[in-house]
Amino acid sequence: MALQVRSYANALVLGVAGRLDQDNCEAFRADLMVHVERSAHDGGAVILDLCGLEYISSAGLRCFLLASRQAKTQHGRIFMAALQPMVAEIFEISHFNMVFQVFPTVREALAAASSEAAAAFDLT
């Protein structure tokens, strides 16, 4: 599962697509952690753009949780954005909507990250 990477000021947007489950979660987690370590520190944010994510299992949710923990230790943040209805429902069912900040759009998540990140998005 390849991550689509876009950068806006102090925020990095990672596009996640397809299915995230036990079959691919470890490779995904390793990729994600590289980006989190580089970008989600000292006020910086990583935004996971989930508009292309069709399904996520408990193992996939755990990857997000580990990434969030890593970001917190670095004083960074992770936001979720643009969840498809089924994935949004899985977030609610598993109570992960209470763990992460979830935004309807990437633009709104960027605005929560910083006004500079939202302005950079608006220029594209």
């Binding site: 299992s57 408990s58 949710l61 949780l65 089924m86 429902e89 069912i93 598993s94 109570h95």
Partner: protein
């Protein structure tokens, strides 16, 4: 011969009881739901309560700690764990035996207190002629049973019990024949280890898997449990927490979630998942919410035959 599963205790960690506040809350919610309707008789009101109100208003999941009976329809009794639910189970055995001594086969998941605390109150243990065989994979099983009845914690020492009590050591992942029932224990992740049991008889397969944490990143572990649950008619599963809690603030506490229960049962092609070992801090409405969420998750992720999902409650009886 029909197998029947009877849940005498379904709560984890410590017994709980409804409070007067809880009862008032249920009554108030029922009155709101009735919304000014009037009922000409008790029967009419009862029918309304039975058909139109949520389980969490009209019932309670109960508060006894784990004790689950497998009734094979024969002379002997089979029971998983002897938490505080063993007290009402003992009352049931005494009533059914009407003074005849019983033979009771116990299968211990582990010896944490919530799983043994009912034994000093298990009536048949005080009846001469009763035979109790306590099966376990733990070396410390007998020590734990004796310890909880040692002075100054309890007035009757284990050695004073009138029943003939035998401790039987089982080997993990090996099928054992116990009075016509095939029993296979399986090691689980829990402080001090716990063991699940797969019971098989006359083509029926029941798995009792409580006090078991699952590490989601470990595919081999998941496949091992899928094999242990394979084609089970019923899987009684430790679903103490919601997934987010189970893998964050309560990681390494030795318990699992409703969501992982659904995933493992789907992998295993099991037919019926029973959520078990309920968190003592959860009220009835919260437990009903976790059940509804598990059922919805099963619908969303279903790829083959539907998996039935229930939540155990004290007094529930099911046929595999």
């Amino acid at each position: 011969m029909t197998m029947r599963i009877r849940f005498w205790g379904t709560r984890g960690s410590i017994p709980v009881a409804l409070t007067s506040y809880d009862i008032r809350d249920k009554l108030a919610r029922a009155l709101v739901e009735a919304s000014g309707r009037t009922f000409a008789s008790y029967e009419e009101a009862h029918a309304f309560a039975s058909t139109e109100l949520d389980f969490s208003i009209t019932h309670t999941f109960g508060g006894h700690t784990p004790c689950v009976e497998l009734d094979l329809g024969g002379e002997e009794y089979f029971v998983c764990d002897v938490g505080s639910g063993a007290r009402p189970f003992g009352v049931h055995v005494l009533a059914k035996q009407s003074r005849r001594p019983a033979t009771v086969n116990v299968f211990m998941s582990h010896v944490h207190w919530d799983h043994i605390m009912g034994f000093p109150f298990f009536g048949p243990a005080y009846v001469p002629g009763t035979r109790i065989r306590i099966h376990s994979c733990h070396d410390v099983c007998e020590q734990a049973f004796r310890l909880q009845q040692a002075a100054p914690c309890f007035p009757v020492a284990f050695s004073q019990l009138a029943a003939s009590i035998e401790f039987v050591k089982l080997e993990p992942d090996k099928p054992h024949e116990v009075s016509g029932l095939t029993v296979t224990p399986h090691l689980q992740l829990h402080s001090g280890d716990s063991f699940g049991y797969r019971f098989e008889k006359d083509g029926k397969r029941v798995v009792y898997s409580t006090d078991s944490e699952h590490k989601l990143e470990n595919r081999a572990e998941a496949e091992g449990f899928a094999a242990f649950f394979r084609d089970a008619d019923v899987v009684i599963f430790d679903a103490m927490y919601a997934l987010a809690d189970a893998i964050s603030v309560k990681a390494d506490w030795g318990h699992s979630s409703n969501i992982v229960g659904v995933e493992l049962c789907q992998m295993a092609n099991a037919r019926h998942l029973v959520l078990f070992h309920h968190e003592p801090a959860n009220d009835d409405a919260t437990l009903e919410g976790l059940l509804k969420e598990a059922r919805r998750f099963e619908e969303l992720t279903r790829s083959g035959e539907p998996l039935k999902v229930s939540a155990a409650y004290d007094g529930l009886e099911i046929e595999p």
